[in-house]
Symmetry: C2
């Protein structure tokens, strides 16, 4: 008898029919003799609806109140799931984040889990019950309710798996697993049966959006194998774990992409200490999140500096950058919306030459211009025009033969 | 500086505009220098919507899960109210029943408050904050969420007033106070400026529906004066308290009524010990709530026994009663729907003769037949045909000169 943690996302519990269907899946796991802890997200668009409700009261809702408000979405879905399980004849109990012992720091909207007090869950499991936990939430030592931010329910699930000593965490969603590229963009994209934590992190961070990187990281730290699969089908999913058989595989796991990127370039920057700080500090104060930064090699102590921001932040970033450019004596600055990113990701790349060259050639042959290049140990990313992102992903998927098992 | 507890019902917080309007009222109380604790109900029809959601999952939702589900309605409204207060520039904090220290027994759907641990509320008040508490809910010693049943938020408010040593509990609703009769039925009905707990209990129990009797009883036990007033206007309300100046007032406080009553009569009942139990025990097991019971004087050890039930319970009651009637050798039984109750209520009645006679004469002069009579120390109730209830209320209101201050 194993203890399995399963998580079902918002689209998996979007209405009564879906909740009943998921209850039958959970019952199946129980029938196989396992102890089952289920984590649920809020139903469908509930969280967005609650945010809209708060914004109808005030344009800047208080963060503490917002967390308590949003936590109700997952409480509703976990009680309904427990009701559905009981109506099928199974013993079940719903627990709020607080009741489930999810203790967090007092950081509204983005609280990190400090610890899990699993006594209540153990007690309910020993009584033979299926335990349904409200995801995305916890409680501070002062007994204030917090939410965990984006990917919160995934994080709840992995944290519970770690705290309960579960051998596996199962994340059920509306996709069947992790693909070599976005299947909506590349019809021949192939579902991976397994992937390492690192590769999954790069894929998710750079746009695959199957599972939040934060929960993947937590799985990596606690070495919890995570199965990502669909709650709508019986197809086998993708196992994210630490022992993926990387050495003998194609070294590129998949192609990630991201839309809505803008590039800011400051030209003719005097190359002296402190310049970078003088550019980025005002942006941080204005709440602009800066992504990739590239500084070209300096010639005659004059350099060009480029970085990317989300497209919707460009109008907020430019006045700051223009002001700084004048102050530091740069020759000018330029903001370009309409860009996107495309990346090849693979754990074996750093030890094998030629990946970058193969990537650049594939883009060249597809007639796609590269606006900027950045790399990490397991990723090579090119900035391209947004209207060429799809062509780039298709070209790279083919060039690295990702449609072949 | 006093500590005031205010409660706002569902219609008072039904939408964003109402919440903002109520927030301004609360701010006014704070501006007058008082410490303010606010109890809110769920917005508008939220509770009914949540019940419907649960019933879309299963026809018989589990009671524990239902309580946790329903508790979210008041959590939503209390967070929104705290946001609204903060947006007006006031310090405020929302607290769930659990955070507010409302400890109850573990009786789902109808939990009684065992005690209030007011530490957190005191702490927040001392920090200068307006405290907004989710009504209708509490938590057991096992940390399970309960709801208090009908009138729950009123009960929360009065219990908090008692626990916090508040000199007054203010209940804001969609009526301007307690009237001498239902103003929709008697246009000349007059708002009472004050009323005793006992009279209020009889008025509310017998259909005035301004405030739940349970909360009035709690106010009586703890001697908390309760002001009932409208959240939509600035009109003065009705003060419910123990020291109403009853001796010098008109002895009848008001006319109560109730629709949808059915009468069951068992005829020719052998008058021996245990007969009443044999009739009412099967009804209790069938979940039928029996109201007024009247047994006529016995002649030759044969008696008639009548009682009332809610109209919608009549079809459930009759098969039980018919079966019992056969078993005990009664001569027959009869169910009559289409009845209603009309009552005169007044704390001074028991010490002054002639009220009953005046009531019966007024009904007689209006051509209204009396089907059954029951009395308590402060109330006389007549069962009449439902289509004559309105005429009866109007006639009694005039007969006891309730339109005169």
């Amino acid at each position: 008898m194993a203890l399995i943690v399963q998580k079902y996302g918002g689209s998996s519990v979007a209405n009564a029919e879906r909740i009943q269907a998921v209850a039958r899946r959970i019952a199946g796991a129980k029938d196989r003799g396992d102890q089952v802890v289920v984590v649920v997200s809020a139903m469908g668009d509930t969280t967005d609806d609650l945010i809209q409700l708060a914004c109808s009261i005030t344009q800047r809702p208080d963060e503490r109140e917002m967390d308590l408000l949003l936590s109700t979405g997952e409480v509703v879905s976990c009680t309904l799931m427990a009701m559905a399980l009981k109506s099928l004849g199974y013993q079940a109990v719903s627990l709020t984040g607080f009741q489930a012992g999810i203790r967090t720091e007092a950081a509204w909207g983005r609280a990190r889990i400090l610890r899990v007090d699993p006594d209540r869950i153990h007690h309910e499991l020993e009584a033979g019950r299926i335990v349904v936990v409200a995801g995305f939430q916890g409680i501070t030592d002062n007994l204030d309710v917090t939410t965990l931010g984006r990917g919160g329910s995934d994080t709840t699930a992995v944290a519970l798996a770690a705290a309960l000593g579960s051998p596996r965490c199962e994340i059920y969603t509306d996709v069947e697993g992790v693909y070599t590229a976005d299947p909506r963009m590349v019809p021949e994209a192939r579902k991976l049966s397994e992937i390492g934590y690192e590769d999954m992190l790069e894929l998710a961070t750079w746009g695959a959006k199957v599972m939040h990187p934060r929960a993947v990281e937590l799985g990596q730290v606690w070495n919890i194998p995570i199965l990502v699969a669909s709650s709508f089908t019986e197809a086998p999913g993708t196992l994210i774990h630490g022992e993926a058989n990387m050495e003998v595989r194609n070294k590129v796991s998949g192609i990630a992409h991201e839309m809505n990127v803008a590039k800011v370039t400051v030209r003719g920057v005097p190359d002296r200490p402190g310049i970078a700080a003088s550019i980025f500090e005002p942006l941080a104060r204005a709440g602009v999140s800066v992504d990739t930064i590239v500084q070209n090699a300096s010639a005659d102590n004059i350099t060009d500096l480029s970085f990317t921001v989300a497209k919707q932040d460009l109008s907020k970033a430019m006045p700051q950058v223009e002001k700084t450019a004048r102050e530091i004596g740069a020759s000018g600055c330029l903001g370009e919306p309409g860009l996107g990113k495309v990346s090849i990701v693979g754990g074996g790349m750093q030890n094998a030459p030629g990946y970058a060259a193969r990537m650049f050639r594939a883009l060249y042959e597809a007639g796609i211009n590269i606006e900027m290049i950045t790399t990490s140990e397991i990723r090579i990313t090119c900035l391209v025009r947004e209207d060429r992102v799809k062509d780039a992903v298709v070209a790279l998927h083919r060039a690295f033969e990702l449609d072949q098992p």
